[in-house]
């Protein structure tokens, strides 16, 4: 991917990511997040990770965020009225976040590999679904099964938490 496209999509990801926390209307936040995810999935594409990219859109944009949207609408959360902000807490939170970023930035600076370009692949058209799939089902079978249990638990949980109570 040419640099200008990379920066375009990176800015899209980050800009809409920032939109999530800047937007006062939850719907706006949710849609920003969707766009951010779509930007992210393009970045994945640029890294030859087609499978992850598509999964990203499929799961996040297609399912997770719809769920969010759904809940926001169901609860009818309109834009928040401006509350009085606790200045100390706000400044503290911002400072911590900033410190975190500075730390990350410095770490990236310290990472020698960070300045290197990506080594070339054997071919651009990697058969990544097959390979990830093979790895997943052969090598990572145990974690995969556990994730299955996890999803089962989550399903039970959601049903239990939201089913109508017996009177």
């Amino acid at each position: 991917m040419p640099p200008f496209l990379f920066w375009f999509f990176a800015l899209m990801t980050l800009g809409f990511g920032a939109g999530v926390i800047i937007n006062r209307s939850p719907i706006g936040s949710a849609l920003s997040l969707v766009l951010s995810f779509i930007g992210l999935s393009t970045l994945f594409l640029s890294l030859n990770a087609y499978f992850i990219s598509v999964i990203q859109v499929l799961v996040y944009a297609g399912a997770v965020m719809v769920l969010f949207l759904f809940i926001i609408m169901l609860l009818d959360l309109r834009a928040e009225e401006r509350r009085k902000i606790n200045v100390v807490a706000f400044a503290g939170g911002a400072a911590v976040a900033l410190a975190l970023f500075v730390q990350v930035y410095r770490i990236i600076g310290a990472l020698g590999a960070a300045r290197q370009a990506f080594p070339p692949l054997r071919s651009g058209n990697t058969d990544d679904v097959r390979r990830v799939g093979l790895l997943l089902f052969a090598n990572y079978n145990l974690p995969f099964q556990i994730v299955g249990v996890l999803v089962l638990v989550a399903t039970i949980g959601v049903i239990v938490l939201s089913k109508r109570e017996l009177r």
Binding site: I27, I55, V66, L69
Partner: protein, 367 residues
């Protein structure tokens, strides 16, 4: 930069869009016409010969109507929603192979190796338009319609996804062109025994594949909000559903988006189950066998073959569209709870069990 690639891609996009938009327009016409015929009427037959110019008249009607925005809506999202409803349906077409080759150029816009997943990914974005439309209208019927629609789409996406898995199991591919090629070599998915007539396993396989096909098709019905699953716009309960507050071209976008989604859905069914652009015909070289007529032949025969393949594809799509319409005018609408129960308790399980059946057959019997 590969200018040839870009050029041909643009050409393909333009061509496909033109064809699809044409089909879309005429599917509206066909819908009206066929519904009329089924109901012992004649349908639109005024504008142009046999009413064939009716779509154009419709388009003008949409465009020329007053573009009214109600005062109580959430303006930004109200405008955004119709656009969002249209885009995913069109974007899905990018990976669908609508022909073999023409002039040596493969007739698919983006031949990516995660084709099917891409289809689902993009299709799953279709909910946003509807949900936002319902929400931003700030009015109770649209809202209920939007909520119903999104939950319906999410629910049936599951069956949709599960119903495709047998295909992966059989073909071992996610790339749509590869799936088509597999079908050409090993028989269509809906009839896997073709070409291997003596294999009992393949005959056995046909049963779950048929089930898979049915579930998939029904799920597509639900995804596109077609009757008998058109709960989101059940007029008797919800007036117009999520587009109650919409008029003129904004409504038109929803309306056309629905038809494009239908076309896309049909195209995918065709690609996955019905052999794509392939049609078994007597070979160019004489003798009857399941040979391929395609664009790879040299000279003018290749060109004709390629065009024939494209025609084949769209013919199949058209046939499916007919079925869509036919079903719509035959079956009554479900009740909402029935719809959801059907999706979760019936199709979901069928698709799930089906996967295992296919897996067993593929692994042990049809070797």
């Amino acid at each position: 930069m590969d200018y040839f690639l870009i050029g041909t891609s643009l050409a393909k996009i333009a061509g496909l869009l033109a064809v699809v938009l044409g089909i879309m327009n005429y599917s509206v016409y066909a819908e009206r016409r066929i519904s009329a015929l089924i109901q012992d009427r004649l349908g639109p037959n005024r504008v142009g010969p046999a009413g064939l110019l009716q779509p154009i008249a419709d388009a003008f009607k949409f465009l020329l109507k007053e573009d009214f925005t109600p005062g109580h809506v959430n303006k930004f999202y109200y405008w955004l929603a119709p656009c969002l409803a249209m885009i995913p349906a069109i974007a899905t077409l990018a990976v669908v192979p609508f022909g073999s080759t023409l002039f040596g150029v493969p007739m698919v816009i983006a031949d990516i190796n995660v084709g099917v997943l891409y289809v689902f990914a993009i299709a799953s974005l279709g909910v946003y338009g509807i949900v936002l439309a319902g929400w931003s209208s700030n009015s109770k019927y649209p809202f209920l319609g939007g909520i119903r629609s999104s939950s319906q789409m999410i629910s049936y996406e599951l069956s949709l996804g599960l119903a495709v898995i047998p295909i992966f199991l059989v073909a071992g591919q996610l790339r749509l062109t590869s799936i088509v090629r597999f079908q050409i070599e090993h028989g269509w998915m809906i009839a896997p025994f073709i070409g291997d007539w003596t294999n009992i396993g393949k005959w056995l396989l046909a049963v779950p594949m048929l089930v898979s096909f049915l579930v998939f098709t029904i799920a597509i019905f639900a995804e596109t909000n077609r009757l008998p699953f058109d709960l989101p716009e059940a007029e008797t309960e919800l007036v117009g559903g999520y587009h109650t507050e919409y008029g003129s071209m904004k409504f038109g976008l929803f309306f056309l988006g629905e038809y494009i989604a239908m076309i896309t859905g049909s195209a995918i069914i065709v690609t996955l189950f019905l052999g794509g652009w392939h049609l078994p015909l007597p070979s160019w070289h004489g003798g009857f066998h399941w040979a391929v007529v395609n664009g790879s032949a040299p000279g003018w025969r290749g060109i004709i073959g390629g065009i024939f393949n494209i025609a084949c594809f769209f013919a199949k799509v058209a046939a499916l569209l007919f079925i869509f319409i036919w079903v719509r005018w035959s079956l009554p609408r479900f009740r909402y709870d029935q719809l959801m129960r059907l999706g979760w308790v019936f199709f979901f399980e069928i698709a799930l069990v089906n996967i295992f059946v296919v897996a067993v057959i593929v692994a042990y019997i049809s070797k």
